[in-house]
């Protein structure tokens, strides 16, 4: 098959899938959808935006474009590092969304024309839209830690996007001798999954405790405080004694460089050699957002926080980690919640209805050890155009909870994952 033929074939199969969907609801015509909405990025945000748009209004033609054939969840991937979970359990396909009538297309978008309202993929296919939703996640700033390039990160994995990087880090931990030092460099705010580096330390400690009990874990932090800090530090102590040491930014933890030859992280005061090194790069909005000119000087995407429409290109909406969403953290649940607000706003707009008043939630669980879970919750509303936390609500698990409550929250953590992925993929 030539490229042109393949292109034509892909195009016609996408159309056929769309037509099959349209056949489900009587009275609809494939030729005249109410609006054509493209969603690019099939993660925590994009899947939900696509699904809830079709639920809100079956007359909207929704196409989900994702570069990978399957989704690999970052959430719960720290359990792959501890050996508690297989990467298979974090892998999901898009068939459930296709069954809902969403045209799912595998393509990598390389061109966005916000004026002419089309995007183009590496397949050569051009996709026209009335509204475009981008959920591009994060990309890495390779200019912030001296010597840390994309190539060097192949040897010193960040494992901040689940997949081969996760497995590579796991293999390095398995290969490490007992008594070695594992170093995590935690990035400055804002970044994807604020409790992630600290849960990672706990999960790796769980593995070391069983297999390499003389080993140490060092967290070098660009920050002076972190998410669920009190709960993490108490949990580390309870399960792992003094195996985990956290060095704040003020105490010299802010990593400035890496020496790949010796496997050393370079700090402002001293250098830190380690047997396994996990530098998590500084972050910014996914490359696609930058490509489309949707980012500001901060590297993230300013949006109308009521609709997630870009303030730079109003027919493009940006959700999830890439957008600036007021008080909300960059988490999977936040992306899920933002996607629903965005879908409701678009469904209203294309029907000429007033923009709905938004409601947002975040819940996030971390696992310190098997049977020890902790959580943070936030309830959010829009005030003066900005997403703010509702006062008196939300917060973290109580510091004095007993073992039974911690066990209940550990089970809730797994149920959270089961349900949020079902919300995305079924």
């Amino acid at each position: 098959m030539t490229d042109v033929q393949r292109r034509a074939f892909l195009k016609s199969s996408a159309v056929a899938l769309g037509a099959a969907m349209l056949g489900v609801s009587p009275g609809m015509s494939a030729a005249t959808p109410k609006a054509r909405v493209l969603v690019v990025g099939g993660g925590f945000g994009g899947t939900i935006a696509a699904k809830y748009l079709t639920m809100a209004d079956p007359l909207i033609r929704v196409t989900l474009i994702e570069k990978d054939p399957v989704f690999l969840s970052c959430a719960m991937s720290n359990e792959v590092l501890s050996g508690e979970r297989d990467l298979k359990d974090l892998t999901f396909n898009y068939r459930g969304l296709a069954r809902r009538g969403i045209a799912v297309v595998q393509d990598e978008i390389q061109e966005i024309d916000p004026v002419a309202h089309f995007i183009r993929g590496t397949s050569g296919n051009r996709y026209n839209y009335d509204k475009l939703i981008l959920s591009p996640g994060v990309s890495f700033r390779w200019d912030k830690i001296d010597g840390l390039t994309q190539e060097v990160a192949e040897r010193f994995p960040h494992a901040w996007k689940a997949g081969p990087q996760t497995l590579k880090l796991r293999r390095q931990l398995e290969g490490m001798e007992d008594g070695g030092v594992f170093i995590i460099a935690a990035p400055p705010n804002p970044f994807r999954c604020p409790p992630g580096p600290y849960e990672r330390a706990a999960q790796v400690a769980h593995y070391f405790k069983q297999h390499k009990p003389k080993s140490k874990i060092l967290i070098l932090d660009a920050k002076d405080a972190f998410s669920k800090q009190g709960l993490f530090q108490a949990g580390w102590k309870q399960h792992y004694g003094d195996m985990i040491e956290w060095v704040s930014g003020a105490a010299g933890g802010s990593v400035e460089g890496i020496d790949p030859k010796t496997g050393t992280l370079i700090g402002p005061v001293e250098d830190f050699p380690g047997q396994v090194i996990n530098p998590i790069p500084h972050q910014k909005a996914g490359a696609l957002a930058e490509l489309a000119g949707l980012t500001d000087a901060s590297g993230w995407c300013p949006v109308d926080q009521r609709t997630f429409a870009s303030t730079l290109h109003p027919d493009i909406h940006v959700i999830g980690d890439a957008c600036i969403a007021g008080a909300m953290p960059k988490s999977g649940y936040a992306a899920n919640s933002q996607a629903k607000v965005c879908a409701a706003a678009i469904a209203a707009a294309v029907s000429g209805m007033p923009t709905p008043e938004p409601s947002y939630v975040n819940t996030c669980y971390s696992l310190i050890a098997p049977g020890h879970g902790i959580s943070v919750a936030g309830v959010y509303a829009l005030a003066d155009g900005r997403i703010v936390e509702v006062e008196g609500a939300g917060g973290v698990s109580p510091s004095d909870a007993d073992a039974r409550i911690r066990a209940v929250e550990a089970r809730f953590a797994h149920d959270w994952f089961r349900n949020i992925t079902a919300d995305m993929f079924t």
Binding site: E357, S359, V361, A393, E409, R411, N419
Partner: protein
């Protein structure tokens, strides 16, 4: 079965709140969809400890969610979440889920567990939870087809607090059950569809 006037009054209250939706009022769907990340799309949970809430009695949901807000009902995370909503919003969330179709799990327990569970049900539970836990009203939730993980957790919590469980006659009855009996009872209800 108890009379059904309360749910219809709830629906009237919801209509009143919807007509006032000009500024700052959030629709039931907008509020309720934020729950789906843990309770499943439209409240049909994918398991195991997270209960399905789709198709539950709206009076029951309203009182449970309100009790989370005030702290009368113990929780790990629900209290922290419910404090973020007005009573009227909690009312709207309850009514939204009550409108959704109930979805039973597809699990069926072992015959011996079902037998033990059914015996306990007939002896102690059926006077309020009629029709093998299928019947529901604003005091008793539907349990037939609910996830056993959740039922187990709810029964254990009730046993822990004894007479402070609501209603207290429920606490009195559950206090006498062993872990195995609670497990069997939960599996029995889960197996009923």
């Amino acid at each position: 079965m108890k009379d059904r006037t309360r749910p219809s009054l709830l629906a009237l209250g919801l209509m009143a709140s919807l007509t006032a939706s000009a500024a700052g009022v959030r629709s039931p769907g907008m509020l309720a969809n934020t729950c789906a990340g843990c309770h499943g799309t439209l409240g049909a949970s994918a398991g195991e400890q997270m209960p399905s809430i789709a198709g539950m009695d709206n009076g029951y949901l309203f009182s449970v969610l309100s009790d989370y807000k005030t702290g009368l009902r113990r929780s790990t995370i629900m209290g922290r979440l419910m404090k973020g909503y007005s009573d009227q919003e909690i009312w709207a969330i309850a009514a939204f889920f009550a409108e959704q179709p109930w979805v039973s799990t597809d699990r069926v327990a072992r015959a011996d567990q079902i037998r033990v569970g059914r015996e306990i049900h007939e002896r102690q539970c059926e006077s309020c939870h009629e029709d093998a836990g299928r019947a529901q009203d604003d005091d008793s939730p539907r349990m037939a087809g609910q996830w056993s993980g959740y039922l187990n957790y709810a029964l254990e919590t009730c046993r822990d607090i004894g007479r402070r469980c609501h209603p207290n006659k429920m606490g009195e009855r559950v206090m006498a059950l062993s872990d195995q009996e609670i497990e069997a009872l939960a599996r029995f209800y889960e197996s009923e569809k």
